[in-house]
Structure formats: C-alpha cells, structure tokens
C-alpha cells in the first residue's frame, strides 16, 4: 500500500472534464514527479489532494485512510502561483502559516527560527515581506510550506523564481526532507530536474494518465536502440545491423548508430569491434524531455486523428 493513493479520480467543470479517471500511487519517502503540459489537469489534481476542490468520483487515501479535511495539516503545499501578505513581518508570516496548519505558537516560533537560520534570513525576521528581494520571498514561501514538518509535501514548480545558486540550495533541502522520510509530490515542466530528483513519474495529458512508472523504466521503455560509438574511424552503415544517424550537435565526435529491429547490442558491438578501432560506446537513453515531447505530441495527433 502506497502512502498516497489516488484511485480513479474524476473531476468535471461546467463543460469540460479536468480529470478523467486518474490513478496514481506515491510510495512513502520518494519524490514523485507529476508531469504534463499546461491544462492537462495537474493543478486540479493537486487541489483535490489539498482538499481545496472535491473530486466528483474516485478516492484519495493517505496512509491507507480516506482523506478528510483534518488531513490537510499533514500536507505542505507550495502552489505554482505563490504570494505572501506583503505588509506582514517575515517571522509573523511564517508563524501564522505554521499555526494555520495546527502548530502551537511556541513550536511554530522555534521552527521558524531554525529555518530562518538555515536560509540565512535571520536578520530579516522583523522586516516586512515587501522589503525582501524576490528570491528571499521565495525562500520565505518555502519555509512557510515546510514549517509544520508535513509528511507529504506538494511542490508545484518549486524552482521558478530561484537563481541557480538558490535553486541548488533548494534542491539540497528537498532531498534532505525526503531523506528524513517526507513523501514529495513534485510538479514541474523542468525535465532536467525531474531526472535529477524523481524516482517515479506520472505524465498527464488531456485529463488522463498517459505514462507512469519509475524514471529508469520509462527511459528503458522509450529507448530507440541507439548507441554512441567512440572511434577515430569513419563508420559506414551496415544494412544488416544498423544505420547511421546524424551526429548530436553537442557531441560531434560520437557516431550515433541506430540498431535495426531485432539486432542485439552485443552483436552490433562485436561486429564494430572487428572492423573498426573502438575506444568506447554507450547506449543512448532518451531524456525525459524527449519522452515528454514525444508522448504528448503522439497522443495529441492520435486524438486529433
């Protein structure tokens, strides 16, 4: 049994269907990527988990139990469109968010101090939010999301608005939270970060799950049997084994060969080794970015056709 289970959730708005029988199982202590193009239904699903919206059909269980309104204290939610009360003091604001999630005042204050210290924001505690830079406001927002030590964290585009240095710091914090046992649902368009941090993913398109599984599995499923070969020689195509692809502009020294259907990697490499001076080879797996684009485009043409 997974920590967060979404089973067959349906949500209709007045005329259009936002979620059409979506299921998703998130294991405890993992980072789970929720992917999909704009308008696929990600925000609706996240809002249903947060109990901001109610599902028309289907169930959401947390730790094996049907979720209730009281469970929102177990969730920390960082929405994509974020904001803070501009006129509130940083410290008061964080404590307010913590207490709304059910913390005691003393606990919230202690936790606030710990986090401000960790993000080097201590001297801003009594400043108004509007006096902070955008990056600092994002950090305050992040602290407000995690202050109550929720076992389930939902981050919608967490890295937007962060410079590379701060994004890296944020990534470290997110990984640390996972290592402490938090379960993290991570929604983003940034496929590079998906490959870096996610173990599992679900790809939504047009209100439905079109792809799901572990990042490695998904990549294996989508591999195109391409091998990058390093050799000083010029390889000619072999009609029985492989064809030659145009080189990757970023890695021009590698020769890309595409195996013909049914050909084993070992056979191709053996043949190449006999005929050329091989210095190395690697199997090319598609990036999540490529898989994303391919899946979404394929489904779209399928739908339109």
């Amino acid at each position: 049994m997974a920590y967060l289970e979404i089973n067959n959730v349906v949500k209709r708005y007045d005329e259009h269907v936002a979620l059409n029988g979506v299921s998703m199982h998130v294991e405890q202590g993992t980072i789970y990527g929720l992917l999909g193009p704009n308008g696929a239904g990600k925000s609706t699903l996240i809002r249903i988990i947060n109990r901001i919206l109610a599902a028309d059909k289907g169930t959401v269980t947390l730790n094996g139990k049907q979720m209730t309104d009281d469970d929102i204290t177990h969730i920390g939610y960082l929405p994509e469109e974020r904001g803070l009360y501009k006129k509130m003091k940083v410290g008061d604001h964080i404590v307010y968010l913590g207490r709304l999630k059910g913390m005691t005042k003393a606990d919230a204050i202690a936790s606030m101090h710990w986090w401000l210290d960790r993000f080097d924001l201590k001297k801003w505690e009594n400043k108004k939010v509007e006096n902070l830079s955008k990056g600092m406001q994002q950090k305050v927002q992040f602290i407000g999301t995690v202050i109550h030590r929720p076992p389930l964290l939902i981050f919608d585009e967490p890295f937007s608005g962060f410079d590379p240095v701060n994004a890296e710091q944020l990534k470290v914090e997110i990984l640390a939270l996972r290592d402490q046992g938090s379960t993290i649902l991570f929604s983003t368009h940034n496929m590079a970060s998906v490959e870096e941090v996610c173990q599992q993913i679900t790809l939504l398109n047009h209100a439905q799950v079109v792809l799901s599984g572990s990042v490695d599995e998904v990549k294996q499923q989508h591999k195109k049997n391409i091998i990058a070969v390093q050799t000083p020689d010029k390889i000619e195509p072999n009609p029985e084994l492989f064809s030659i692809l145009p080189p990757d502009p970023m890695k021009k020294q590698d020769t890309l060969i595409k195996l013909d259907p049914g050909v084993q990697v070992r056979d191709a490499i053996n043949w190449l080794n006999e005929h050329y001076r091989l210095t190395g080879f690697t199997e090319v797996l598609p990036s999540m970015n490529e898989i994303f684009i391919e899946t979404v485009k394929f489904k779209n043409t399928e739908n339109n056709g």
Partner: protein, 434 residues
C-alpha cells in the same frame, strides 16, 4: 475554531496595525472639527483683523445717538444735528478719517428710516448693528411716551413663546414623548449603520481582492476551509469597525467634556451683561426641554434592536461584498458588481429619510421589513414605537436572508478566489452558487 480565531486576529491586526488606520481614526474627528471650526475662526479673524471703523452719528433728534455704543469694530462719534448742515462736506473735510456717517432724521419716530452715507461699501454687519440697536431704543421710547406705568413689564409678560409638548399614552401612563430627540436618535443610528456597512463592506472586498491578486489565497485555503477564511474576514473587519467607533466615542466624550467646561466658563464671564444672560436663560429652557426629551426615550429596546439590526445588516452586506470581491481579479473591475449593491444601500438611506416624516406610512412599513433596507429604515422608525409583529417579522427575515446570502457568498467565494483571468459575469456567479 482555532483557525477561525487565527484568521480573525490576522485580519484585525493587518488593518489596525497599519499607519493609514491610525491616521484615518484620528484624522476623521479632526476633519470634522476643522470643518466646524474653520468658518468660525475665519469670521473671527476677519473681525479681529479689520481696523476700528469711525462712524459719525448726526442725530437730529438729539435723543438716540447715545444708544449706539462703540465696540471693537465701530467707534460711534455723536455729533449734534445743528452743527452740520452739509453731511457731504463734513465727510470730505474729515480727509478719510471717517468711514461712514449715520444721519438720524428728526422724523425718525414716525418714518423709522435712518440713512447711512459713505464713499466706501457699507457692510451688512454695520447696518444690522444700527438697525437692531435703534429699533429697540425707539420702541422703548415710544412705549415710555405713552405714559402708562409698568408698561414695559406688561409687554414682557404678554410676550409668549409656544412650546408644544407631545404626551404619549402608554401602558406606563402618561409619558412625555420625544419627537425631536427621537428623530435625531433614529437618524443617527441609521446613519451609523449605513456608513459602517458601506465603509467596512468595501474594506472586506478590498481584503478579498488583495489576497487574490497576491496569490496568497491558495496557500491559505490549503490550510483552512474557504468559508473559515471568509467568515474570519467578516468578523475581523467588523471588529476593526467596532474598535474605530469605540475610539471615536471616547474622543467625542473627551472633546464634549472639554468643550462643555470651556463654554461653562465663558458663560460665567459674560454673565454680567444682562442681554447675554437673558439669552442664556432662554437657551437653558430649550436645553432643559431637550434633555427631558432625551431622558424620556426608552433606550433599552432601541439599543437591543440597534445591535440586532446592525449585526444582521453588516453580515448581509459584508458577505455580499466578500462574495462579489472574490469574483474579480482587481479592485477596478469590482464596480460592475458593487454598483447594484451600493444602489440598494442608497435607496435604503433615502427611504430612511422619507420615513422619518411618517414613520407609520406604508413605505416606511415595507422598507423596514424588507431585509436589504430594514437595517437602515427600522432605525428611523424604532424610536416612534413599532408594532411587535412587524419587528419580529423584520428581524427574522433579516437574519434568514443574511444567513442565506452568507451561504451563497461562500459558494461564490469558494470558486471565485481560484478563478483568474476571464472576468466573471453574473451568470457565472449563479452557476457557482448551484
């Protein structure tokens, strides 16, 4: 419940802690004082700043010039009538040292006409001073000329002011009723309700829109129910309003006490002048009657009902404003929704004024029962006595409607706060309620 308290506290502090609130709370009474004080101060400065005018009084009768006493503004110089043959020459010869010449003609007793000559403009103040003083003096002289002993006293006795006192028969026996004071109180309470609902209703709407444009709202509703947030706002802002009113009442009491003691003192210093003393006594009579009226009003039911109508009206309109505010992205878009609401409020306010003339008329009765106008109109009717069944019907309707509106507003709010982009129409709002 804890969350609701947190939200109320935050909402309250976010407004009360602002500089603008402090400025507004202290500034409003100051503004009123200024509005009242500026004309008085200006008139005072105007009088004080001008030079004393030299007025020559040519009294051909020789009897009345002495009545014109010099003061801060005018220096009257009596000149015997037979010494001046040509007033114009006399004026010219003064080389500008005279501002005007008053000629009291020999036949003034029969004609009652006095002339003032000047090259400059003759001020209304001078004309009224001369008219007032001479009229009294000449009238007294006429009475004296009749030669009837004690005539003055007889005339004074014959002078009558009619004071109408209305007495109401009630279960407690005869009771002096209180038309003026009651009407004043009714207006005051209805105006307070009207102002409060408009001011703080708008404040709630702005607070809703601010959270929406800030995008903080999604974080907050992931921690509490939207209804809690809306209710917290309504209660929080309501408490702000009560705080502000309490501060104003305290300020008013302080100003009243200070002003009262100041006027008391000035009354004593001028007490020596008989004319002044007379008017003071007269004023006291009016004051006494007014005080009696004020004391005769039965306050307990009025205050209980005021609190009920005030709360009901505030809940109704503030929920409406919160719901409507949630449907727009920015304050400037709000007018399409708020205009009808403000129109209803205005109708209620004018109905209240109209109903004061005839508090038992059909319009007054209807408007005081219909929930959207009743909080304002009933306040005007209340001091005149309202049949119990009307009162109960009106209050039940008001609270029933207020709760229904709150429920509908909450449904709109729930959808509205997360609705961005395309402007919502009234049609959308109805869809959201369903």
């Amino acid at each position: 419940m804890d969350k609701l308290r947190l939200i109320i506290a935050r909402e309250y502090m976010s407004i009360v802690g602002r500089k603008s609130f402090i400025i507004m709370t202290l500034g409003m009474p100051l503004l009123f004082i200024l509005i009242a004080a500026v004309p008085i101060g200006m008139a005072y400065l105007n009088d004080k700043g001008s030079d004393v005018q030299q007025i020559a009084v040519i009294d051909e009768t020789g009897r009345y010039a002495a009545a014109l006493h010099s003061d801060d503004m005018y220096n009257f110089v009596a000149i015997k009538g037979d010494t001046v043959t040509n007033a114009r020459e006399f004026y010219d010869k003064s080389n500008g040292s005279l501002d005007a010449i008053v000629i009291i003609p020999r036949n003034v007793d029969s004609t009652g006409v006095v002339n003032i000559y000047s090259e400059g403009t003759i001020t209304p103040a001078l004309v009224s001073t001369i008219r007032g003083t001479l009229a009294d003096t000449i009238q007294n002289a006429h009475l004296a000329a009749l030669g009837i002993p004690n005539l003055q006293q007889m005339v004074d006795k014959a002078h009558v002011d009619v004071d109408v006192r209305s007495i109401k028969w009630s279960d407690q026996g005869e009771q002096e009723s209180s038309t003026d004071a009651a009407m004043g109180l009714g207006f005051l309470l209805s105006f307070i309700t009207y102002m409060f609902v408009l001011m703080y209703g708008a404040m709630i709407m702005n607070s809703v829109i601010e959270e929406k444009t800030n995008r903080i709202v999604e974080v907050i509703v992931s921690s509490c129910r939207p209804f809690q947030l809306m209710l917290g706002k309504i209660i929080g802002v309501g408490l702000v309003g009560l705080t502000q009113m309490a501060i104003w009442v305290v300020l008013l009491a302080i100003v009243g006490t200070v002003a009262g003691s100041a006027f008391g003192l000035s009354g004593m210093t001028t007490g020596g002048v008989p004319a002044e003393a007379m008017t003071t006594v007269e004023d006291m009579g009016v004051m006494e009657s007014f005080t009696r009226q004020v004391l005769s009003i039965n306050y307990v039911p009025i205050i209980v009902n005021f609190v009920l109508y005030f709360l009901g009206g505030y809940l109704l309109y503030s929920a409406l404003f919160a719901g409507l505010g949630s449907a727009v992205d920015q304050a400037s878009d709000a007018s399409q929704f708020t205009t009808p609401v403000i129109l209803i409020m205005l109708i209620a306010f004018y109905a209240g004024i109209a109903c004061a003339e005839n508090p038992m008329g059909p319009m007054a009765v209807w408007c005081s029962i219909i929930p959207f106008t009743s909080p304002v109109v009933m306040m005007v009717r209340l001091p005149f006595g309202v049949p119990t069944w009307q009162l109960i019907l009106s209050i039940v309707l008001l609270f029933g409607t207020a709760l229904a509106i709150t429920w509908m507003a909450a449904r709109i709010y729930r959808r509205g706060i997360l609705h961005y982009g395309q402007k919502a129409s009234f049609k959308d709002l109805f869809k959201w309620i369903k």
